[in-house]
Symmetry: C2
């Protein structure tokens, strides 16, 4: 597939922040012409589909500065430096919802915006949720409302664009598919 590759001629680092880095790259296209690519580097992230013992989905409502609005999403967060995705998913679930999962498994990973960013998100399903006694594990600078909803309620939120992001839309489809193929829960 070498006939598709864009060779880097020059790479300039424009910005290095807490979360993202931005590069502008001059590339040589397969036809020999040159072009510019704007590339965002991101540490990667995890997201969890948490299902309670009575089959409800746990969601978090939070403010998203990039959108200047509140969204309802499955719990998620950035990977910390050197952190394994599985451990990160456990941590984010606890910090954002106050739940610990008896079982958690990886279902899929995907790049969210391959056209301009390298963010890779690892998605898990968490079951057998136990409420933690100490709320101390909740992140004090994270402001979220925790919701427990049925799949039908979540699908209505998707319709009303309260749920409006790729990983949560994927999660709802995953639960719908699981239901129609006869698996239990949500």
């Amino acid at each position: 597939m070498d006939h598709l590759v864009e060779k880097t001629i020059r790479k300039e680092k424009i910005f290095s922040g807490k979360v993202v880095q931005l590069y502008v790259e001059d590339v040589q296209l397969p036809n020999g012409k040159t072009s510019k690519r704007e590339v965002i580097k991101h540490p990667g992230a995890v997201a969890v589909i948490p299902i309670t013992k009575d089959g409800k989905l746990v969601l978090v409502r939070q403010y998203r500065k990039a959108l200047e609005r509140v969204l309802v999403e499955i719990p998620a967060g950035k990977l910390e430096k050197g952190e394994e995705p599985f451990a990160s998913a456990q941590r984010e679930l606890e910090e954002e919802t106050g739940y610990r999962a008896q079982s958690m498994r990886h279902i899929v990973s995907f790049y969210t915006s391959p056209g301009f960013a390298d963010e890779l998100i690892h998605l898990y399903v968490a079951e057998g949720l136990e409420k933690l006694e100490d709320a101390a594990s909740l992140d004090e600078d994270e402001f979220v409302d925790v919701l427990e909803v049925t799949l039908e309620e979540a699908l209505k939120m998707l319709e009303k664009q309260e749920i409006y992001d790729a990983k949560t839309a994927y999660a709802l489809q995953y639960l719908q598919l699981r239901r129609v193929t006869g698996e239990k829960h949500a």
Copy 2:
């Protein structure tokens, strides 16, 4: 939901490129503390799930500079300035695959990375595909291989991480769900 809002204190434009703009914002958190947010502004995008008359899925293989690798994805592209998403989806389908759709309908829209970017992607399903006679409509600076695969073949590509992005993973689940609920195609 005002108790979740982060107020902007200061906003600095760091970069304005062909595709993205980057801002760093000082915000006041709901607890009165301040923090910084890195925000990427993006024009938005469209993606199409194109299904051939014999029920195959049309995919494109292309190089993604942000990932430094080739991915297989459903056809997609950025919104041009002032362009309606529906027209954009028709254009991208034609430019990338050489197919025109007899019917195309919107199925969902979602933000791809609400944690740091405002990219909103509008997803369509296209059916009744007709091959265009003139390849002239293909974008000369776009280098893609066009593939036609069954859903099973696409799911294997997802397993092998040749398909590795959110919108295409969503598309495959959409087709799986459609199949098990008795709808035809793919």
